[in-house]
């Protein structure tokens, strides 16, 4: 009896030792040399694997930062400047500051502004609707309202608001750009977040001529060029019947906002204007 127990214990021990030896040599043989810094950087990253940096997930980004000579052009939109500073100090590199960005929806086509002229009854997807026709309204450039951007957002930062347009949650948006890619009409743009979140932008991408654009949507950019004339910094260009504000040149003076006859230019996060100053509504009725 005792011999049986003894035999079992000894043989098991031998098997264990043999396996350990084999494992050790195999592990040595097939060891993959990997820069340990990749793991360190990966630890610092948010781990959302959103792909917003353009790399395949956070590990891909970590590898890229370790391999690259400088952090130029590498930016984690989710972690932002704070994370990038940490990564830079961990790797002993220069921090390349990037202005924080945010997704901006450039369409004014609420139900009120854009009358519906047909009824879409297919699969609820902007991409499918876009492939079929111009959409439920007469605007061939505006938001289709099926929420492809909402589905694309990994951070739950976009929802369809009561007007049927996507609304970006400024707290949650990390400017990863997934919605920009998802929108078949290129309505969403990543723009500078601006000081205290203040931004001015043209909320329309309609390239139709003024009359047609106006007919389709009461708040369309009609390409009249008043804003461009008004802008003291030359930040506004009008091309293909639609105005565009270069956010690097814009100094947030808001003159264009009051000049726009269709209120297509939006200002965000500014304090309410003084009563003495002409409100945008008043200025347009005068014009």
């Amino acid at each position: 009896m005792t011999t049986t127990i003894l035999f079992t214990i000894i043989s098991l021990c031998l098997i264990g030792i043999a396996s350990a030896v084999i494992l050790y040599f195999v592990a040595q043989k097939f060891k993959v040399d990997e820069d340990p810094r990749i793991d360190i950087v990966e630890e610092l990253l948010p781990g959302a694997n959103c792909g917003g940096c353009g790399k395949p997930g956070c590990r891909g980004f970590a590898e890229a930062t370790v391999k690259a000579d400088s952090l130029d052009g590498l930016f984690c939109p989710v972690g932002g400047a704070a994370t990038m500073t940490k990564i830079a100090s961990a790797l002993g590199r220069e921090v390349v500051m990037q202005t924080p960005k945010i997704a901006v929806v450039r369409c004014n086509g609420t139900c009120e502004h854009r009358p519906r002229t047909s009824h879409y009854d297919g699969y609820k997807s902007c991409a499918v609707e876009h492939s079929l026709y111009r959409g439920e309204t007469d605007c061939a450039y505006g938001c289709l309202g099926c929420g492809d951007c909402v589905k694309a957002c990994a951070f739950d930062a976009i929802r369809m608001d009561e007007n049927g347009l996507p609304a970006v949650d400024e707290e949650k948006c990390v400017a990863c750009g997934a919605c920009v890619k998802a929108c078949p009409r290129n309505i969403i743009e990543l723009r500078n977040q601006g000081p205290k979140g203040r931004r001015v932008f043209v909320s329309c991408v309609n390239k139709d001529k003024g009359a047609a654009a106006r007919k389709a949507c009461a708040a369309a950019c009609i390409g009249c060029g008043k804003c461009a004339k008004e802008c003291p910094f030359g930040a506004i260009t009008v091309e293909n019947n639609v105005a565009y504000i270069d956010f690097n040149k814009c100094r947030l003076c808001r003159k264009c906002v009051s000049a726009c006859p269709t209120h297509a230019i939006h200002e965000v996060n500014f304090p309410a204007r003084k009563i003495t100053e002409a409100t945008p509504e008043a200025s347009t009725t005068e014009a």
Partner: protein, 337 residues
């Protein structure tokens, strides 16, 4: 005029719907139900009603309160699960066991996978096998058909169980060296218990509610083919495999192995092949896949019946092949243009 509707082509539909298919299957089950009522009396109606009601209630509760969806209990699939579960139970089963079976069928078999269309295993069979393993005594007490006439149920075994038990006792007697007293060969066993092929055809034998009347089930099969609810491939593949396999065994040793007709018309083979194996969700998508699936069920059923410890193997065979269906779908692509 109101705004025109826009959508991608095609703009017409053949009018088929989930409901039409599901209720079509239910219509096909009516002949078998009538037979079960004739053979087993009120009990058949009560067991079926309890099973269907329990399935509907559990589906409603799970969809409404656990999954927070809009309940779709009237699409017919829960009713089919209820009816099929009942058809797989003996009429004498306590009703609380039926309710447990329904809970397992709907809750575990169907809803835990995400509801209709997502389940891997046939829900009714999941319920049935759960009950068979959990309550073996109640699940294998088979009242012989009495109709409405008597209230005292006489219990007996199913033909499959009779043969299996008799053959097993032959084996033990042979092993103990005792001279055989009872009938020896399969045909003698059947003759001794008065089981004939016509009996099996119209269901005059012990068994579950819905499985006894082969003819009624075949009428349902014909109806479903006519309405194009199912294709013929799976049932025919199962029948053909069982006939060939048991035929070979029978020819090799008629003493030991029952013939093809016996296997075809007894137990749950008809019910399983026509109504359970052909379940849309859990069967393969291509005709080639359906053949493989059907042949697999046939072989497994015969193996379990003849060589296994259970007298009946249809449920297990179908569940095993259900599990293999995703693999079959991967391997069997439709014929290319």
């Amino acid at each position: 005029m109101s705004n025109l509707t826009m959508s991608l082509s095609p703009h017409i539909h053949n009018g088929d719907s989930v409901e039409k298919n599901m209720y079509g299957v239910l219509i096909a089950l009516i002949p078998a139900f009538i037979c079960s009522v004739i053979f087993f009396g009120w009990g058949a109606i009560i067991v079926t009603a309890v099973s269907v009601a329990a399935c509907l209630i559990f589906e409603y509760l799970i969809q409404k309160y656990l999954l927070r969806q809009n309940p779709t209990i009237w699409d017919g699939s829960a009713i089919i699960t209820g009816v099929l579960l009942a058809f797989n139970l003996p009429v004498s089963i306590p009703l609380w066991i039926v309710a447990i079976g329904a809970l397992v069928a709907i809750g575990v078999g169907k809803m835990s996978f995400g509801g209709l269309g997502n389940n891997i295993f046939n829900p009714a069979l999941v319920g049935r096998v759960f009950l068979l393993i959990s309550f073996p005594v109640q699940m294998t007490t088979w009242p012989t058909p009495q109709g409405f006439a008597t209230t005292d149920a006489v219990t007996g075994a199913t033909p499959l169980a009779i043969v299996k038990a008799a053959l097993a006792s032959n084996g033990t007697e042979a092993a103990s060296g005792a001279t055989a007293q009872g009938p020896q060969s399969v045909s003698e066993i059947l003759a001794a218990h008065g089981i004939t092929v016509p009996d099996m055809l119209y269901g005059n034998m012990g068994g579950s509610l819905g499985e006894v009347a082969a003819i009624a089930l075949l009428i349902g099969f014909a109806y479903m083919l006519l309405r194009k609810i199912i294709t013929w491939h799976i049932p025919v593949a199962i029948f053909a495999t069982v006939i060939v396999f048991t035929g070979i065994l029978h020819l090799a040793n008629p003493e030991q192995f029952a013939g093809p007709l016996f296997h075809l018309f007894t137990g749950g083979l008809m019910l399983g092949a026509i109504f359970m194996a052909t379940d849309y969700v859990t069967s393969p998508m291509t005709h080639k896949g359906m053949w493989i699936y059907g042949i697999g069920i046939g072989v497994l059923t015969v193996l379990i019946r003849v060589f296994g410890s259970y007298p009946e193997g249809m449920s297990f065979a179908i569940l095993i092949m259900n599990g293999l269906t995703p693999l079959i779908n991967r391997c069997c692509k439709p014929q290319k243009f």
